[in-house]
């Protein structure tokens, strides 16, 4: 038997003992004539202890169990007011009243145990202060203590008030009225705060909180009725239900939450069995946590940074984004991944922890894949950078030299003038040679890395490529904004490759469309032609498509080629945008 279980058993024992005491006090009371009343008193003391024992086992270290014990004790003290003795009567009536603010504290602190917002704290403090500053004066000034709730066993000819300081009936009545209004206001405010929390809670938290809110509303109605209508039989019945409702609601809420957790984990385990890739894993975990905005970033130890599943670096951390980040640690103490999620999940740390530790191995697998993707993305970036460097070298070096050479030749021709004689034809040839060399260098340089793409983006570069194509090409949906350089390059070269295929295979009189479509998630392209079409199977294995596919897949995208039903061929691809 663990310490926790031992404490829990002790709590139960204490609950049974005090409950028996309360039952004895009411059963022997000359004021009580109802067996139901006795049972309700017994239950109202036992129930908080029982729930406290359970909470102590499941969620140790939370103040909830302590609060419940305190509530049970307060109810026990209050039950002693049934004893026909002036020694117990006044203290029981005075101190037993502390059960109310304790209950409010309990409801507002549920389920985390902390009082979250300044309002909640203020209400709890007000509850305690109202007893000390309003209820104690009532007792000090009233020779017969007025009713404060359903559990005032005697309504008339009660035992003498030993705590009477000096009898002042009108003062006592005034304090009692203010106290009741205060109590009603506190109960109302409690219900309001709970309703607000429920409104803003995540789905799982709603399941946990809803029963407590219901109990709180029952209490609000009961107390309001008590203040307005007075102590009729119906109102007393309602108050009795309300007393029992809160601990019961806590049990129901926790059971519902736990059932929810179990179902979520079951879904998660089923999803993990399918060996999900990075995107599926995100979906499976998002489903389990019921947070569609969940993002996973994988830790790359070599880079010392987080990366998305495409291997491209991402920033992790709230940075004022209003998101919370939970780090999943691996067995070696290194982070595996960071989950960026809805802060509402922080209210429910057990589920978050259970889900992330259950998914840890899948996360680790994907982390390794991400590291590979990152290395690959790095390669592409390096290749593209190298292409741009070569283009610049050609432009700033070779091309300039050829142009200068051509000008020098022109100067030479002018100096020689009519004296050139036979040399003139050689000079002419030389000029033509330099022109050809210039044209070739420009074509090569453009093919390596079109300056237009780097400087002005995909829209202009594709419009230019369309103009250069040997067949008529229309560009639809060309973006005006810029995208990360690797994505622009990939889409550009893929479209170019597809156009070359069209020009090669589509036959005379064909024309083509380049269609681009972009949302927040991906940049998609499609190159369609209306030509004779080629055997899609032959093309699928051809070098053209394999170039397209490897470029797109390196960036985490996909590409397909299909014969169009209306004739011609369509190459499609889509590249996800890094977050």
């Amino acid at each position: 038997m663990s310490d926790r279980r031992r404490t829990s058993a002790a709590i139960i024992a204490a609950g049974l003992l005090l409950s028996a005491g309360g039952i004895a006090a009411t059963a022997t009371s000359p004021y009580v004539h109802s067996a139901i009343y006795v049972m309700v008193v017994g239950l109202s003391i036992l129930l908080p202890f029982a729930v406290a024992a359970e909470l102590h086992v499941r969620y140790p270290g939370r103040v909830l169990a302590g609060l419940l014990v305190a509530v049970g004790c307060a109810y026990f003290v209050r039950s002693l007011a049934a004893i026909d003795s002036p020694i117990t009567y006044a203290p029981a009536r005075a101190i037993g009243q502390f059960g109310e603010p304790l209950l409010v504290w309990l409801m507002l602190a549920f389920p985390s145990g902390t009082l979250p917002r300044p309002w909640s704290r203020a209400i709890v403090v007000a509850g305690f202060l109202s007893i000390v500053l309003l209820w104690f004066p009532v007792i000090a000034t009233s020779s017969s203590i007025p009713l404060s709730g359903a559990f005032s066993p005697c309504t008339s000819s009660c035992p003498a008030n030993r705590w009477l300081v000096s009898s002042a009936p009108s003062t006592g009545e005034a304090f009692a009225t203010v106290f009741r209004v205060c109590a009603a206001a506190i109960v109302l405010a409690t219900a309001g705060i709970l309703a607000n929390r429920l409104w803003r809670a995540s789905r799982v938290m709603r399941r946990v909180l809803a029963p407590v809110l219901v109990a709180s509303i029952v209490r609000t109605v009961a107390v309001a009725a008590f203040v307005i209508v007075g102590s009729t039989a119906t109102v007393r019945g309602l108050l009795v239900v309300a007393y029992l409702a809160v601990p019961l609601a806590i049990v129901v809420g926790l059971v519902r939450g736990r059932a929810y957790d179990a179902a979520a984990l079951e879904r998660l385990v089923r999803g993990l069995r399918a060996r999900p890739g990075p995107e599926q894993l995100r979906e499976v975990m998002a489903q389990a946590l019921e947070d569609r905005t969940l993002e996973i970033a994988y830790w790359l130890p070599e880079a010392g940074a987080y990366a998305g599943s495409d291997g491209l670096p991402v920033a992790v951390g709230d940075g004022g984004s209003g998101r919370s980040v939970t780090t999943v640690m691996g067995g070696d103490g290194e982070p595996v991944a960071a989950l960026s999620h809805d802060p509402a999940l922080l209210d429910h740390p057990q589920l978050l922890e259970a889900v992330s530790s259950t998914a840890a191995i899948a996360l680790e697998t994907n982390r390794l894949e991400t590291a590979v993707a990152a290395a690959r993305a790095g390669t592409i970036t390096a290749v593209d950078a190298e292409r741009r460097r070569i283009e610049r070298d050609l432009h700033d070096g070779t091309q300039q030299r050829l142009i200068a050479l051509r000008m020098k030749l022109s100067v030479a021709e002018r100096i020689l003038g009519p004296d050139a004689g036979r040399a003139q034809s050689v000079l002419d040839e030389l000029g033509g040679d330099i022109d050809s060399a210039l044209r070739e260098v420009r074509t090569v340089s453009h093919g390596i890395a079109p300056a237009l793409l780097a400087e002005r983006g995909l829209g202009d570069a594709l419009a230019d490529a369309a103009r250069r194509a040997p067949i008529p090409v229309r560009v639809v949906g060309a973006p005006t904004r810029r995208y990360p350089q690797p994505i622009e390059s990939a889409v550009y070269f893929c479209c170019l490759e597809a156009l070359q295929n069209v020009a090669k295979h589509a036959g005379a009189g064909a024309s083509a469309d380049i269609a681009l479509r972009c949302d927040d998630v991906a940049l998609a392209f499609a190159v369609r032609d209306d030509g004779a079409g080629i055997d899609a199977g032959a093309l699928r294995d051809g070098a053209g498509l394999s170039n397209i596919r490897s470029r797109v897949e390196e960036l985490g995208g996909s590409a397909t080629i299909e014969r169009r039903p209306e004739g011609g061929t369509e190459v499609r691809g889509s590249i996800p945008l890094a977050a």
């Binding site: 200068a404 100067v411 002005r456 103009r467 560009v475």
Partner: protein, 243 residues
Amino acid sequence: MVRFSGVFLHGISGALCSWEGARVDQVRTVVVDDSLLIRQGIVRLLDFDPGVAVVGEFDSPGQTLAAIDELEPDVVLTDIRMPPTHTDEGVVLANTLRERHPRLGVLVLSQHLTPEYAIGLLGHGSESRGYLLKDRLYDLEALSGALRTVAAGGCQIDPLVVEALTGGSRASALDVLTPREREILADIAGGANNQAIADRRVLTRRAVEKHASAIFQKLGLTEDGDANRRVRAVLIYLAEDAG
């Protein structure tokens, strides 16, 4: 259809580029290029044309701007791609000069056959602007002709660039326009906005807008923004008339 002959637009239509001022006797030219080789080549070649005087040489736009007031050139002959970004510094320089010295001619030298750069140059008005491929630098007649055109307020775009724009397939593009649409296109090419054209042609502004969109439609200019379409329409117009 324009082939490899030069396009001297000021001679073709007075409406194309506003044509102001007397003919300049000797074109005072400032040469801007970060490549010493190219600057030397240009200076040595222009030496053979007594009608052109190189009054300054710079390797960056910043120095050029600082020296304009003192040197009082007629034309700035500038490379397009220079430090620091190696993209379109020459076009930026031309646009800055448009604000500070509206009458000053700017001839931009480029290795880009792609018309987008020329469109960027003409976006702020086509008068006193020229765009010449560097391949043509050796041809003294073409170079000094372009310098004179630009110095005199004319506008000259390298024929190869215009050909790249029209793709060789719009040879008779202007034939599809009605005479009225041709007139309005000429006005657009002259840099007039829709209101000015409406005033000149005694039309409502709405009618001019309708004509303009019909023109863009017929010329196949359907996808760009309005400013871009206007410049492209002008380029096509220039090319057509030159042929």
